[in-house]
Amino acid sequence: MDFAASFALVLPELVLTATGLVLLLVAAWGGDKTARPIAILAASALFASGLLLVPGLHNGTDGPATLAFGGLLKIDSFALFAKALIYLSAIGALMIAPAFFASPSAGTERGMRAEYPVLVLFACLGMSIMVSANDFMSLYLGLELNSLSAYVLAAILRRDTRSGEAGLKYFVLGALASGILLYGISLLYGFTGGTSFAAVRAGLTGEMGTGALFGVIFVLSGLAFKISAVPFHMWTPDVYEGAPTPVTAFFATAPKVAAVALTARVVFEVFGGQVAAWQQIVMFMALASIVFGALGAIGQENLKRLLAFSSINNVGFILLGLAVANADGASAMLVYLFIYVAMSLGCFVALLMLRDEEGALFETFADIRGLSVTRPAIAWALLLFMFSLAGIPPLLGFYAKFVIFQATIEANLVVFGAIAIAASVIGAFYYIKFVKVMFFDEPAGVVTGKSETGHWVLLALTALIISPLGYLLTPSLTDLAGKAAASLFLAV
């Protein structure tokens, strides 16, 4: 394969790289007053890259024609699906940022820093590489590009100690995770003699030695860190709480999609021949995430912290799809990811819209008491998101759980599925607490300020997707996810 063909395959990434570098220069020379145009340009670049994915996504691509740069990257339907989702959530994260940073509570006199959109762009570039990685080298490259941008994003409010703390914690624990991952990769390299996914897979056939098994476990642990699955979840609540809310919204969506997609690719394409070696680990992580995500959330007063536990809980359900270890499970997982992104983005937008006259954000349950009286539109939207997260029909969150559990049962993991779904009832407890506080309690009497049009648009859009009307999307969503999942298993 010549270079031109490879470049054609990574055109979206090239667009992101070029835009990112140019915008970085603009930011360096123009300063923070150019932040808004930069954000708009960055969002446009993401949108343009997203448009480039459409033909491949629609027709479905797989096979050797998708390999770029001598097999370092693989741009198949699966990668395209994940990328589309990543770009969409990144656009959302860019849309909600300016208003937040402009408010006095952010502590930035000059509004949004010009680096913010650029960092989001680079993070997306890293994630694009992650999800299309076909070699442990490119995997690590993408992962680190994403992580390093994310560390800076978490700490972007320099004068806010909580933001700094979040950035530091994220960095230290993220570096530890990267180290674990690298160690796993090196073990796999040592025992199989290659870093490309195909080579490692070939080396893992037959009876697996202890060393290789350790490699598998270390790689999985490193990845579990990135998707914040129990027992590697401890950084999530602190980072989510401390990071500025738009950044938290970003963390909860795009990097999660990327890390989950990457994990899926690794377990299916690299460890696909050794299902027995990892299935139980993934099952354990799934159940533990569902249970601990739910139990941890119960006592929380801070809404962002609660959403952090909710994301852990959701990762559990996503891993359930992974544990099924077939194309149905992978497809269900992708459907879940899409719906999860819409729900999380919606929740965070709603949280960002809740501010008092001075512009300070509402962050605890006490602040949103009686919200249905003071801000009915936002309260009803949050009600939809909460019931949807709890998986109550007729909201789309039910469909997400529906496909996951259907795949679980069809793969004959009945007991496993029954335990998981029973545990999901624990989660419902704190989601309905949200509704209780907003609807049943007396208003807290806090005057609430105005919200930006961009926020309203995003809130309306996500609420519409989550509403029963979203079910009309399911045929095409299932079709796309099915194609993506099929390309993942074609390689086998």
Binding site: I409, V414, S424, A428
Partner: protein, 521 residues
């Protein structure tokens, strides 16, 4: 009527009404809600009058492949028809019941009720397993809000309890549904009703469905959410809970558990009997000592629903028909009793029985209606309660005379607690001045009570109107259950008929024969 998607229309009207209510003021919302429910009721009457008795088993079918994984398929048989009628009949009454008593956030309240109506019709009409689940489970959202926002003092505890109890029961059912669909390759309910699941799997499937329906019915010992939810819900919420939501459990048994898992149903009949017997005696005794009127009626609901479950698992036509009539009758009667409580609650704002007394003196019309519904609840001949309870108990007698014996004590105890309640509220001296000053029922309350009273008498005097649409469906179900039906302990040996009745005058033989045939329904 051909081609008109009347079931979808019946769901669309309240849905549109709900949307309109959300965005309108208090008074407009009341009228919109009343209008929407009345239109739906008229549609329901059209539905009933166009239903062909003895026609195809599934009528008014609609099907559209809108979603991935399941389809939008609707259709009804006689059993579903009757329950839909019950729902659309009670809805306008509920709206009227909350006309003056609900003053805060009226638009949202009415929207929640109309949404509830959509879901109830959808649940009874769904022909796809997952579509059924969606409607069945979605009812949690409006009910949670109705109890939590407009309920009494302890509403938050009650709403949590209601939500989590019912959710936990239902998710296990969902798992069972996935298994069934994977096994049978279709989620079409009529097909699944004829599908033979392996007996070993039936056991687990039955238990999973039981977990959900037993909570909904509710059966002892899973009933504890009910008194809390009832007492804390606003009057109309209690009416809908008792009138229709409890029927979802009974409907679930008759639509899913019995036809889909007949062997397991027979195997677990003893469990149902045991729980029902305990429920009848225990909850009746509990009802006897209640000082809160709503709680008393709530416990009586548990006892009545136990008669339903006993009838369902009698595995014969009488039992099934009786169970259906008890469900319909209980929907009307307990709904009406909650309305009766609501009427005096609106005036005095207390449900304490001792705060009332002698209401027959200053509220004679009220006392009349209350008496009628009290008698119907006890099962006085001529009221709907008698027909249902008689058929149910006659059905269970063929299967187990012990169960019949113990369940019949429920009727005696029922008479005890209902008459005791009535005596303390309506009779005796006017011990409380404020209660004695209460005005009799208003025109609005007349409009609420009179139709229910008429329906109760109609069902009591001429139950054939209600039994006829269901007869064929129950016969089909009975035939399906025949193979698995447990042998009854009543060894009914048909004797040789006398040549002449003891008091025969010669030409009466033909009539005897007729009535014997009728008794076999």
């Amino acid at each position: 009527m051909e081609g008109l998607p009347i079931l979808s229309l019946m769901m669309l009207v309240p849905l549109a009404g709900a949307a309109a209510c959300l965005f309108s003021g208090a008074n407009a919302a009341r009228w919109i809600a009343l209008g929407a429910t009345l239109v739906t009721f008229v549609l329901g009457v059209i539905l009933w009058s166009n239903y062909q008795i003895g026609g195809p088993q599934w009528q008014f079918t609609e099907r559209a492949e809108l979603f991935a994984g399941f389809s939008y398929a609707l259709g009804i048989d006689g059993i579903a028809l009757m329950l839909i009628m019950l729902s659309v009949f009670l809805m306008p009454v509920c709206i009227l019941a909350s006309w003056d008593s609900v003053t805060k956030r009226v638009g949202e309240y009415m929207a929640a009720f109309l949404f509830m109506e959509v879901l109830m019709i959808g649940t009874f009409a769904a022909q796809d397993l997952f579509l059924f689940y969606v409607f069945f489970e979605a009812g949690l959202i409006p009910m949670y809000l109705i109890i939590g926002v407009w309920g009494g003092d302890n509403r938050i505890y009650a709403s949590y309890k209601f939500f989590l109890y019912t959710l936990f029961g239902s998710v296990l059912m969902l798992i069972a549904m996935f298994w069934m669909v994977a096994q049978a390759g279709t989620s079409d309910i009529p097909t699944l009703m004829e599908y033979g699941f392996p007996a070993s799997a039936q056991t687990w499937l039955w238990l999973a469905f039981f977990a959900s329906f037993a909570v909904k019915v509710p059966m002892w010992p899973l009933h504890t959410w009910l008194p809390d939810a009832h007492v804390q819900a606003p009057t109309a919420g209690s009416v809908i809970l008792a009138g229709v939501l409890l029927k979802l459990g009974g409907y679930g048994f008759i639509r899913f558990s019995l036809p889909m898992f007949p062997e397991a149903s027979a195997q677990f009949a003893w469990l149902v009997f045991a729980l029902s017997m305990i429920a009848v005696v225990y909850t009746s005794l509990v009802a006897l000592v209640q000082s809160d009127m709503k709680k008393l009626i709530a416990y009586s609901s548990v006892a009545h629903m136990a008669i339903v479950t006993v009838g369902l698992f009698a595995f014969n036509v009488q039992g099934l028909e009786g169970a259906m009539i008890v469900m319909l009758s209980h929907g009307l009667v307990s709904g009406a009793l909650f309305l009766c409580v609501g009427v005096i609650y609106d005036r005095l704002h207390t449900r304490e029985i001792t705060r009332y007394g002698g209401l027959a003196i200053n509220m004679p019309y009220y006392a009349l209606f209350f008496l009628l519904f009290t008698m119907a609840s006890i099962g006085l001949p001529g009221t709907s309660g008698f027909v249902g309870e008689f058929l149910s108990l006659a059905g269970i007698y063929q299967t187990s005379s012990t169960v019949a014996l113990i369940c019949t004590t429920g009727i005696i105890l029922g008479a005890a607690y209902m008459l005791y309640l009535y005596r303390r509220v309506a009779f005796g001296g006017q011990t409380n001045e404020d209660a004695a000053a209460m005005p009799d029922i208003s025109a609005r309350e007349w409009i609420m009570m009179a139709p229910i009273a008429a329906a109760v008498l109609w069902m009591g005097v001429y139950p054939e109107s209600f039994l006829a649409p269901m007869r064929k469906d129950i016969a089909v179900l009975d035939a399906r259950l025949a193979a698995a039906a447990p042998a009854g302990d009543a060894r009914l040996a048909p004797g040789t008929p006398r040549a002449q009745a003891a008091n025969a005058l010669g030409h009466h033989e033909g009539m005897e024969h007729e009535s014997a045939k009728e008794g076999a329904h």
